[in-house]
């Protein structure tokens, strides 16, 4: 079947899968965020156990021209640890909510990782040389007796096995009363924003003891609380612009030049809804779980429970494109409310050219939509289709009546197998899909 995200001859193929095979999934191993860096050379994952694993793409080898570079472990470290808020008797989870890379400016790589309360700037650097021939100490580190030193020598740099070190360079703490859901690096490469349920703060990457509050939607009386902030992102080119989405399905675009406190939006995006069509579930399923600007900066995409919408920043009154992710779940809303699945927060992402978008679903299915051809495809991340370079077969959910061969019925879907986090390589057709505790990497067949 003609594929999505590329030309007509496009086909997604399995490339790699990382993680344990056994059925018993330890909670700490559940992947909570996936992010490529700006070049796509590095792929970072964060998990519920507070750990970060970074994969690096192998250089393409001349011996195996057909297989694109594989991603192998580059560095792994414990980013956050569980903490306890003694004042409120609450545990602060070490789960990594988001990772965002900084653009590379020197040999080292920098990323921001955050849990519910604290953001950290990590420096990942390589060491492949070590100095030998010190004057004041031996090769094994023991200090030499200074009186025994009769001649001076210049230490020489010798090659050593590559060591990748991660060190925390900045800790941005104590600025969020509520749970951080988003971080976003600004295009000025100097500042970044962090958003929790009720507030958004602007930080300078060099300054940890101070941050500016730029949005505050906390009502004076908490009984009057009607919506919370669900996601926020900086504009990719305009460093004064950012957006934040709400649990009521609206998006506000703010301009930091207009005022110090951006409580008043510059643009308000909302799709009109007929009040008579509202049900108990309407507001819950309209809650936006993710918002992402297109690379061009002209559009933004929002993910709510059942659909993905593309908005033109110049048009506030409705989205320009709406894609149904799993419309068949509308007849299951009652049980999805009972098992809390209706509150699952799916993310979405653009491909490098903004021609395609991807988002996850249940049963380890994920969906891709081609904006130009309007074709869509459902694929599955499963160990069964995990032979090297095996082509992925499109999947189909049948909603009722006769189930065709190879189709799966809505009632057979596994709602514990959710794909909440996916990432698309910034330049190529390589995607990373997190399926609970496993990370799948798929590539296109054409090289």
């Amino acid at each position: 079947m003609a594929g999505v995200g590329g030309g007509n001859d496009f086909q997604w193929c399995f490339s790699q899968v990382k993680g344990a095979i056994d059925e018993d999934v330890a909670e700490a191993d559940i992947i909570s965020t996936v992010e490529f860096n700006y070049s796509g050379e590095l792929l970072a994952t964060g998990d519920k156990g507070g750990r970060v694993v970074i994969f690096q793409r192998e250089q393409e080898s001349k011996n195996r021209p057909l297989s694109r570079g594989e991603y192998n472990v580059y560095s792994t470290f414990q980013s956050h640890e569980p903490e306890f808020d003694y004042l409120k008797s609450l545990e602060i989870e070490e789960k990594i909510n988001k990772i965002r890379w900084l653009p590379q400016q020197n040999a080292a790589h920098f990323l921001l990782s955050t849990n519910d309360k604290t953001i950290k700037l990590w420096k990942i650097s390589e060491r492949d040389k070590r100095a030998e021939g010190y004057n004041l100490k031996d090769e094994d580190g023991r200090l030499r007796d200074p009186f025994r030193i009769t001649s001076l020598r210049v230490p020489v740099l010798m090659p050593m096995d590559l060591m990748v070190e991660a060190s925390p360079r900045r800790i941005f703490a104590n600025a969020h009363t509520y749970h951080i859901n988003s971080i976003s690096v600004n295009s000025d490469y100097e500042t970044y924003l962090s958003a929790d349920d009720l507030r958004i703060n602007l930080w300078h990457l060099e300054i940890t003891d101070r941050s500016f509050n730029i949005v505050d939607i906390k009502p004076a009386n908490m009984e009057e609380l009607t919506e919370v902030i669900t996601a926020a992102e900086c504009h990719p080119h305009q460093c004064n612009v950012f957006v934040y989405s709400s649990s009521k399905g609206t998006i506000r675009l703010c301009d930091m030049r207009a005022a110090a406190l951006c409580d008043r939006h510059s643009k308000f995006f909302e799709e009109p809804e007929d009040p008579s069509s509202r049900s108990f579930f309407s507001e819950i399923i309209s809650s936006i779980s993710d918002v992402k600007f297109s690379h061009s900066g002209r559009y933004m995409m929002t993910r709510d429970y059942l659909s993905v919408k593309v908005w033109d920043l110049n048009m506030e009154n409705r989205p320009v494109e709406t894609y149904q992710v799993h419309e068949y779940l509308r007849s299951k809303l009652c049980s999805l409310y009972e098992n809390d699945c209706i509150f699952d927060k799916f993310e979405c992402c653009w491909n490098g050219s903004d021609s395609a978008i991807m988002t996850g679903s249940y049963n380890n299915f994920f969906r891709m939509f081609d904006r130009n051809t309007r074709r869509d495809i459902t694929l599955e991340a499963s160990r069964e289709s995990s032979k090297p370079r095996a082509m992925l077969k499109p999947r189909k959910v049948c909603t009722g009546g006769k189930r065709k061969k190879d189709e799966i019925s809505v009632d057979s879907l596994d709602f514990n197998k959710k794909i909440l986090h996916t990432a698309w390589h910034p330049k190529e057709n390589v995607i990373a899909v997190a399926a609970t505790n496993n990370l799948y990497i798929f590539q296109d067949k054409m090289n």
Partner: protein, 111 residues
């Protein structure tokens, strides 16, 4: 080009919309049948406040003893069912506590 769009497609779209609304209302009826005490405003402050409080709340001996003193002879409030409000009076008891975390080990993605 828009004018050429046939009447049929418009009607079909409208039917789709009506179907959607119908399905949702049917699901709503199912839910109300199971949980008659559920309020009418699901997106309201109760749900949001529950969301803001996300995370396990641990046993606090100060709260516990003060609550015990208030109630005197009566039993402490039992753990609420999932769908009811979590009010400020819910004192976690030792029975409510989740298990302690295991020690930190390396990620299996790196192995």
């Amino acid at each position: 080009m828009e004018d050429i769009k046939s009447e049929e497609t418009n009607v079909a779209e409208q039917k789709d919309e009506e179907n959607k609304i119908c399905l949702e209302k049917m699901e709503e009826a199912k839910l109300k049948a199971k949980y008659p005490h559920l309020g009418n405003k699901p997106g309201g402050s109760d749900l949001l406040r529950k969301r803001l409080q996300k995370g396990p709340k641990y046993f606090d001996s100060g709260d516990y003893n003060m609550a015990k003193a208030k109630i005197k002879n009566k039993q402490l409030p039992a753990a609420q069912t999932e769908k009811a409000e979590i009010t400020g009076d819910h004192i976690p008891t030792p029975q409510d506590l989740p298990q302690r975390k295991t020690s930190l080990v390396a990620s299996k993605l790196a192995g």
